[in-house]
């Protein structure tokens, strides 16, 4: 809403600068986004009001004239002028030599210099609208009103500021200049003078001339109308055009301009019908018929359906209620009779209609915010009065006022106790009353028959009664219905700066169960400390992306967005695999060949198959990681070796060791992983994830050919569930020394090392084992491999003798032979 200060001043005195005013309004919830200053850059001393004394013709040019201008203080100036409309007696804007002024020729602000134009000296200029940046008009000079004081700086006469207000949805009253004026009055201590609404009613009784009926009173709360005959269509006066332009409206023709002007003034949309086009002098406010066609003012044919509301004559719709008038009863050049409508329509229906037809207008915007029905007759009378003054004609006697939705204003209580309970501030009730009065609220009697539940229960003491006020909201406010609304009114006018700062003094509530969040955040910390960089990607993706990791073929059907912003963002992800590979690709492109270790912990959204529509999807927290590129940044220490399966596994092992999970790795087939380089991770009975090198065909889909990419994926909740919850128990370290033995074994290539190690580790004297050499080839039989383990033996009761260790090693060897057919490697053979 654009509110010119000059317009505001018609209703309320403003004694503060526009900047200060904007600040106060903003702090009180009427946010001024911008202040547009008109004339802010006019040269105060050199751009002034002048009076054209005479206009002589130029001796050497037919199209130029020589006006002589009185510029005050007995000074006159004669200049060369090219404008056709300059005439003696005009008040004009005069720029002296040296004035800083916009030049239409260069498009920049320049200093006006004296010039000799076709042999005549010109010491100044009569300005056009364009040069003053008031408009586009450069064909003629700007002519001021006759009352403009000669010699006055133009900025003092014509300068203005427009407040661009961002009105919140609860304050449709501030979609009007008067509404803002009421706020200004409360915030600056002024008083509002509302426009005079009286006019001569010289015509016949309106009742006999027009018949109006509301067929759907549930959708039309009030309908007021006046009738003016004998009007003359034409342009509206300059002051109205100026006001409309400043407020952002295009002037059209007097009657239409007046309806717009009054809408901006009161916040009440109005519509003017050409009364001669209204068949049978009848207006029926009714729901549209299914499929009813109607051409709106913008020339579009609209196909309507109930319960869209139309204003109809005896046969056809002549307007779409609360949204836009119809082309068939539009004001024309020759219109002489106008039926003026000022009504109040149901907000929800208006909003739905405007939404369905994609036709949001200034009118629908106001109605859908729920303006007060009390505005209708006021705005009607105001507009009728302006039509009589500007377009002439005679008004019918009386107005039509159908008001099926009448609701008596309901007083709202405000108590000192509630103010203290909500704000923490103790106000005196006299202060409260003065604040509310400044906003236009009126003291009301306590309504009878209303049982106040709080007071009934808590049996308010007598002084409490003196600390309670009943107030009625002014006719323009539609946002006041409960006590806390009044609490806010007090707070915002007094100012939130006056509210003290206190710390919560109430007891700290008991905590809930430890959440997944704690575990998840620990997991993130561990991954980061293992050298992985966290990434966060969009939750929405495309079917194509999901398809690249086979998630569409093998996973649940992803949830679709009804109104996606683009095809790339049309589905909720069901896996993080695609996004981490995309992130890998993006970074590989910009990296300088270094190894990349990325992870993301986030949700996937899995629709509940049987109950897609009744239950929210399962939002499962997953962790994915991807590693690729050289293990070490190109280094003089080590050759460039690409990361592989075991780099990812190493990260995971570090993580699991820290969270206390024992995880087994079992070979697995996964549609996007290398068939021979992939494992699932099993913790207890649960599969908690997979790790493996990404299948070359999949790498190709992501443009990740080249170095292998290792991917892991963990189900965070499954992992949390699989890990013992009882916390860690301390075990004291053995005081006795550790003995090491190396054991080189030959087994079939198909025997997993993990299996061999688990046999070694289960011996009671073994405290640890590590494979330190894996060999396949010459000297080992075909289909065999040699794996050497370093085994640590230790007892927590005594120092082990070498005989004890030999015996233990023998036991282990026997079991290895029996269970996996292992033989000791003959190092001398």
């Amino acid at each position: 809403m654009r509110v010119p200060i000059s317009w505001l001043k018609q209703y309320v005195p403003i004694g503060v600068s526009s900047k200060e005013l904007a600040y106060r309004l903003t702090m009180a919830g009427i946010e001024v986004g911008e202040i547009d200053e008109t004339g802010g850059d006019w040269d105060r001393d050199n751009v002034i009001v002048g009076h054209v004394l005479k206009v002589d013709s130029h001796p050497n040019a037919d199209r130029l004239t020589l006006p002589t201008v009185d510029i005050g203080n007995g000074e006159t100036a004669t200049v060369v002028c090219g404008a056709p409309n300059v005439a003696a007696g005009q008040k004009i804007a005069f720029a002296r030599e040296g004035a800083r002024l916009f030049s239409p020729r260069s498009g920049k602000v320049e200093t006006l210099k004296a010039a000799n134009i076709r042999g005549v000296e010109s010491a100044g200029m009569v300005c056009s609208s364009l040069e003053l940046q008031l408009g586009e008009d450069h064909d003629g000079i700007l002519v001021l009103d006759d009352d403009a004081p000669i010699g006055m700086p133009l900025v003092d006469y014509l300068g203005d500021a427009v407040l661009d207000i961002e009105v919140t949805p609860n304050r449709p009253d501030c979609l009007s200049v008067l509404g803002v004026a009421h706020e200004v009055a409360a915030l600056t201590g002024g008083a509002v003078t509302e426009p005079d609404l009286s006019y001569p009613e010289e015509g016949l009784e309106i009742d006999g001339q027009v018949k109006i009926e509301i067929a759907n009173p549930e959708l039309c709360y009030r309908y007021t109308a006046s009738l003016i005959t004998g009007i003359k269509m034409g342009p509206s006066p300059q002051w109205m055009q100026d006001a409309l332009v400043k407020a952002g409206q295009r002037p059209i023709v007097n009657v239409v301009d007046i309806t717009n002007y009054v809408m901006l003034e009161y916040g009440q949309p109005l519509h003017a019908f050409d009364f001669d086009a209204v068949k049978d002098r009848t207006i029926i406010v009714r729901a549209a018929r299914q499929g009813e066609e109607h051409v709106t003012l913008d020339g579009e044919k609209r196909v309507l359906s109930p319960p869209m509301l139309v204003i109809a004559d005896s046969t056809d719709a002549v307007g779409l209620a609360g949204v836009m008038g119809g082309a068939n009863a539009e004001m024309r050049d020759g219109t002489t009779s106008v039926l003026l409508e000022s009504a109040n329509f149901d907000p929800v229906n208006t909003r739905r209609t405007a939404g369905a037809l994609r036709l949001r207008t200034d009118a629908s915007y106001r109605f859908e915010r729920g303006i007060r029905a009390e505005l209708a007759p006021r705005a009607l009378r105001r507009a009728t009065k302006l039509i009589l003054e500007i377009a002439g004609g005679h008004a019918a006697k009386g107005i039509i006022d159908l008001y099926p939705g009448r609701r008596e204003p309901r007083p709202v209580k405000i108590s000192r106790a509630r103010l203290k309970q909500v704000l923490g501030v103790d106000f005196t009730m006299s202060r409260v009353e003065s604040v509310l009065s400044s906003l236009g609220f009126e003291r009301a009697k306590e309504p009878e028959g209303i049982i106040d539940l709080i007071e009934a229960v808590e049996a308010a003491p007598a002084p409490e009664r003196d600390s309670t006020l009943w107030m009625t909201a002014p006719y323009w406010r539609s946002d006041i219905s409960i006590e806390d609304d009044l609490v806010e009114e007090v707070a915002r006018v007094v100012g939130y700066d006056s509210i003290p700062e206190t710390m919560l003094a109430t007891s700290i509530p008991p905590r809930g169960e430890p959440s997944l969040r704690t575990f998840r955040e620990t997991l993130k910390d561990l991954l980061a400390s293992a050298g992985m960089q966290e990434t966060i990607s969009y939750s929405l993706t495309s079917l194509e992306s999901l398809g690249k990791v086979d998630a569409t073929a093998s996973g649940p059907e992803p949830l679709k967005i009804a109104n996606p912003m683009s095809v790339e963002l049309a589905y909720l992800r069901t896996t993080l695999r695609a996004s981490i590979l995309e992130t890998m690709e993006r970074n590989r492109r910009v990296s300088r060949g270094e190894g990349l270790r990325l992870f993301e912990v986030g949700r996937v959204y899995l629709a509940k198959e049987e109950a897609r529509e009744r239950e929210l999807p399962d939002e499962r927290e997953m962790a994915v990681g991807a590693l690729s590129g050289p293990r070490f940044q190109s280094s003089w220490h080590a050759p460039r070796v690409n990361m592989d399966f075991f780099d990812a596994k190493g990260v995971l092992e570090t993580v699991f060791a820290k969270i206390g999970g024992h995880v087994e790795y079992e070979p697995v087939r996964d549609p996007i992983l290398h068939p021979g380089k992939a494992a699932r991770m099993v913790c207890g009975d649960a599969v908690v994830g997979v790790v493996g090198e990404v299948h070359p065909a999949v790498l190709e889909r992501f443009g990740l050919e080249g170095a292998p990419v290792v991917l892991f994926e963990l189900d965070v909740e499954a992992l949390r569930q699989a890990i013992p919850q009882d916390g860690r128990r301390y075990r004291s370290a053995s005081r006795f020394p550790v003995s090491h033995r190396d054991l080189a074994l030959v087994v079939d290539t198909g025997v997993p090392s993990g299996k061999v190690q688990s046999i070694i580790d289960r011996h009671k004297l073994v405290v640890g084992s590590t494979p330190f050499d894996v060999y396949q080839g010459e000297g080992i039989g075909h289909g065999k491999k040699s794996v050497a383990y370093r085994i640590a033996f230790q007892s927590d009761r005594d120092t082990l003798t070498s005989e004890q260790v030999d015996r233990a090693q023998g036991d282990i060897m026997r079991q290895l032979r029996r269970e996996v057919g292992a033989e000791l490697r003959d190092l001398h053979g």
């Binding site: 919830g29 806390d484 206190t502 960089q533 990434t535 929405l540 970074n587």
Partner: protein, 351 residues
């Protein structure tokens, strides 16, 4: 041999020993010297051995002279050995010198996303004030995202929440499922499941149908706060946010409230901090206002309390929200929100 000649013999041995010791170089030569003079067959040892053949009165004096000489030689030897050992170590260290300007073994450096770090920083500040961290669903019902927050269907306030809807229409022709547009639905969820007192913060992702630009991203994070009990006031809200601001933005920062409208709070405010770049003078960061708006807050609307079965005459509470990326941008001087989820390591590694 006379007593005198024995003593002069000893003196002679000592002086020649000292001379030779001076000439001895490394540890090996010192050892040879020791054997020659102090070893079992060394010259001085032999003198001592011969003492047995002397008369007792002579033995005492010659013995004393020999022992003095031995002690002197031993002391000299120890000193020479110490210095020889030192030179040897110095020499070997000099050989082992490395070029300390060469780079070290690369150790991969991981890190957490700035959003994660900022959420933690925000939540930690509130946890220390007795708030519990909770999370909620991102795919929500219209009921929680709007209706229970005092935003019924067709309410014009819905215009400011550009909603992404799940493609499913119920029997009333309405779309009931959406991507939450704010973390506020957890207000209703938490209160539905708990009786007062309630004190929680809720971090999480939110979504809006929005064209992206340097200050708008359709995919963003918020932290919601909610405290409800008997006797909670707007002064407590202001104090709580002030304390938060001190911890996260520095001890000098001040909180300012200005009236604003959110249907689920009454009174509702927009809260701002004084600009840390210009200390209120006005600059580019604060758009010349001296204040930086953080987010919305207010006292929980009685309709919201009623909706979850809390008696608004008995219980009051406050709620606030803030954009995580906005907080991070202000703290780190990031000027484009789109950097957060573009996942470029050149950005992420800076945090």
């Amino acid at each position: 041999m006379s007593q005198q000649s024995h003593i002069s013999d000893i003196e002679q041995i000592e002086s020649s020993a000292l001379r030779e010791l001076d000439a001895a170089g490394g540890l090996d030569e010192l050892e040879q010297w020791r054997i020659a003079y102090l070893g079992r067959r060394g010259r001085l040892t032999q003198v001592l051995r011969r003492l047995g053949g002397l008369a007792p009165e002579e033995r005492g004096r010659v013995g004393a002279a020999a022992n003095r000489a031995k002690a002197a030689l031993e002391q000299q030897l120890a000193e020479r050995e110490r210095s020889a050992r030192k030179s040897q170590i110095d020499a070997s260290l000099a050989e082992g010198a490395i070029d300390v300007t060469l780079p070290g073994w690369p150790s991969p450096a991981g890190g957490l996303h700035p959003t994660t770090q900022t959420i933690r920083e925000i939540c930690d500040a509130f946890v220390s004030m007795g708030f519990e961290v909770m999370e909620g669903p991102e795919v929500e019902w219209d009921r929680y995202n709007f209706e229970m927050l005092n935003i019924p269907k067709h309410h014009p306030a819905r215009d400011s929440f550009n909603t992404l809807w799940i493609d499913y229409t119920d029997s009333d022709g309405e779309r009931p499922m959406l991507l939450r547009t704010h973390t506020s639905p957890m207000q209703a969820r938490v209160m539905e499941n708990r009786r007062p007192p309630v004190r929680v913060v809720v971090p999480g992702k939110c979504y809006r149908y929005e064209a992206t630009d340097p200050t708008h991203e359709w995919h963003f994070s918020q932290v919601e706060g909610l405290a409800v009990d008997r006797g909670i006031t707007m002064s407590d809200l202001k104090g709580t946010l002030q304390e938060f601001v001190r911890r996260v933005f520095g001890p000098e920062r001040r909180v300012r409230f200005r009236c604003d409208y959110f249907p689920f709070v009454e009174p509702g405010v927009d809260w701002a901090i004084d600009c840390f770049a210009c200390a209120g003078e006005g600059c580019r960061i604060c758009s010349d206002s001296g204040w930086i708006e953080i987010a919305g807050a207010g006292m929980v609307h009685p309709n919201v309390l009623k909706g979850v079965g809390y008696d608004p005459a008995v219980y009051t509470g406050f709620a606030f929200g803030m954009g995580v990326e906005r907080v991070a941008m202000l703290k780190h001087g990031i000027e484009d929100v789109r950097l957060f989820y573009a996942n470029d390591l050149r950005f992420l590694r800076q945090f």
